[in-house]
């Protein structure tokens, strides 16, 4: 039966994880993500899973990688300094192609910053916070319902592409209560296990066309060497050969980049004839929509592009919008991060304007409306 509840965003995240089949959580509580750990500690034992409070965040990331290799869908949640401490193991998750989900409820930073205030200032860290060339997937929810839905989606994408997936939420969404609709059942991607023909040699990293190799669990009977070193198709370290390294790292990137059209998710509103497009992700979208509706009432041809998946960035859709739009506006709760991506894609054909806001408070609709009007009036000049 469909269930309706009035819950915190962070609680919706935990409920989404359970619905997605997550049965292991390792973490270290930190504001404003703590309610996720708290709820998982209650929900997991009731659902046949395990919860471990770890000694720190790098160990938490290590524990979920280990749990994932034992065949269990695994997650951690953190904020602020915690995500910095996890970075090395995120890279380890990337090169070992381990499906894990990391929730980051972003707070004011750098360092310990503003524990109880909101921010979107970890967006570039989600892209390349760990050392090395790599591609990950990041999702940004803007409501309690989306925090539930996107957590499920994160688990599915992690399994489909064998990659760490980050849910880049923020304090506003984590700490608001709204109605959550929990459906009867949700679509879940199950892990593909290797299947061998009689006498076939097992090559754990011999990827098929889509770049994603089936993944055994410890105890399934396959010999797998899981290593952070550059490895060949057998999984053996081969660290001095340029070709082995190039093949491996390009495949790790390509499995995301070549499937961008399947991974990227976004929502367009009022964009058909839009000359100005407000591009947002996460909680600022809430203010964008009010501002865009009000500007439309005043006759300004403005639309909204809400990006569900900041990483990989939806280049194609933005290029398409840039054919008609002369101006793009991006509100971010930082001093300008994703706006650089917007400039990269749309900057040749259109003007790109940032509304960067820090301090922990969400943009108001008036702040966005004011910018829309300013841009619209300059266009007329």
């Amino acid at each position: 039966m469909v269930e309706e509840r009035f819950v915190l965003g962070n609680e919706a995240c935990a409920l989404g994880a359970i619905a997605a089949g997550c049965r292991f959580f390792a973490g270290y509580p930190i504001t404003p993500s703590t309610e996720i750990a708290e709820n998982m500690s209650v929900l997991l034992p009731k659902n046949g899973g395990s919860f471990v409070q770890m000694e720190d965040e790098i160990a938490s990331a290590g524990a979920i990688i280990g749990a994932s290799w034992s065949g269990v869908k695994s997650m951690t949640a953190t904020s602020g300094p915690g995500i910095s401490l996890m970075q090395e193991n995120i890279g380890y998750g990337v090169i070992t192609e381990t499906p894990i989900v990391i929730i980051n409820v972003q707070r004011g930073s750098p360092s310990t910053g503003q524990p109880t205030m909101s921010s979107q200032s970890d967006m570039m860290q989600a892209r390349w916070g760990s050392h090395g060339d790599y591609e990950t997937i990041a999702l940004s929810p803007s409501s309690v319902q989306e925090f539930f839905d996107f957590t499920i989606k994160a688990f599915n994408l992690a399994e489909e592409y064998r990659v760490p997936v980050l849910v880049m939420s923020d304090e506003v969404v984590g700490h608001m209560r709204e109605k959550l609709i929990i459906p009867d059942s949700v679509d879940i991607v199950k892990r593909v296990r290797p299947e061998l023909e009689e006498g076939e040699q097992y090559l754990p990293y011999d990827a098929p066309e889509n770049g994603v190799t089936p993944m055994p669990a410890f105890g399934d009977g396959f010999n797998v060497h899981v290593t952070g070193l550059t490895h060949d198709k057998r999984g053996y370290p081969d660290t001095n050969d340029a070709e082995t390294h190039t093949d491996l790292v390009e495949r790790l990137c390509d499995k995301i980049l070549k499937n961008k059209d399947k991974i990227c998710s976004y929502k367009e509103e009022f964009c058909d004839d839009a000359e100005i497009v407000v591009v947002s992700y996460g909680s600022p979208y809430r203010s964008v929509l009010t501002a865009v509706k009000e500007a439309r009432e005043e006759g300004i041809k403005v639309g909204s592009l809400k990006i569900d998946t900041p990483w990989p960035f939806p280049d194609e859709e933005i290029s398409k919008l840039a054919e008609n739009a002369t101006d793009f506006i991006m509100p971010e709760m930082n001093l300008g991060q994703m706006v650089h991506e917007l400039e990269r894609v749309a900057g040749k054909d259109a003007n790109v304007h940032l509304i960067g806001k820090i301090g922990g408070v969400l943009h108001t609709p008036e702040e966005i409306l004011e910018k829309i009007k300013e841009v619209a009036s300059k266009k007329e000049d």
């Binding site: 504001t31 109880t116 700490h175 608001m176 209560r177 709204e178 109605k179 909680s283 203010s287 009010t290």
Partner: protein, 182 residues
């Protein structure tokens, strides 16, 4: 129609719980949309505590309160700290035993505020015999004074939120609060 509600008091009065009950009543039992937020941080303990609820028939975009239509003050500190952006002709409900009314006489007159007095803490202690239900007494007063949620939805939300075994006391508290407003 969008309505913005703010409740302020001190940590431990159940202020945030009241916000959750209002949000739950509106969104799960009145078929509307609601977003509830609350103050986090050091001031939540002992000092001023605050919760805000936005209620609307339409989907709620901007989730925060900008200028409340309704403000409920359950402490002097919260009253003075959070009253200023209450809308012109807005509704103010105070617990008269916990605030100094003289301090807001000008404010009420200047902004043409509709002021209601609900001695929720005294009623909880004297009538129900349980000081901890003061917030639910106040909930009854809020519903009577503002109609922001229906009586039925409020009762459903209370039953859905309070510990098992305390349902009767809480419904009595709600009704006592409802009776405090003429």
């Amino acid at each position: 129609m969008r309505q913005e509600v703010r409740i302020g008091g001190f940590g431990g009065q159940g202020v945030i719980m009241t916000g959750i009950v209002i949000g739950k009543a509106a969104s799960l039992f009145d078929g509307k949309n609601a977003v509830q937020t609350q103050s986090y941080g050091p001031e939540a303990r002992g000092g001023a505590s605050k919760t805000e609820v936005v209620i609307s028939d339409e989907p709620i975009d901007y989730p925060k309160v900008q200028a409340p239509d309704i403000f409920i003050a359950m402490s002097q500190t919260a009253l003075m700290k959070y009253k200023d952006d209450l809308k012109e002709e807005g509704i103010l409900i105070i617990d008269p035993d916990l605030v100094n009314e003289d301090d807001i006489a000008d404010f009420v007159a200047d902004k043409k505020i509709k002021l209601f007095r609900a001695p929720a803490t005294r009623t909880a202690t004297d009538v129900i015999g349980l000081r901890v239900v003061a917030n639910i007494v106040m909930m009854g007063a809020i519903v009577k004074a503002t109609g922001v949620v229906s009586v039925e939805a409020a009762k459903e939300a209370i039953l859905d939120s309070v510990p098992k075994g305390t349902e009767d006391k809480n419904i009595q508290a709600f009704e006592a609060g409802y009776g405090l407003i003429e």
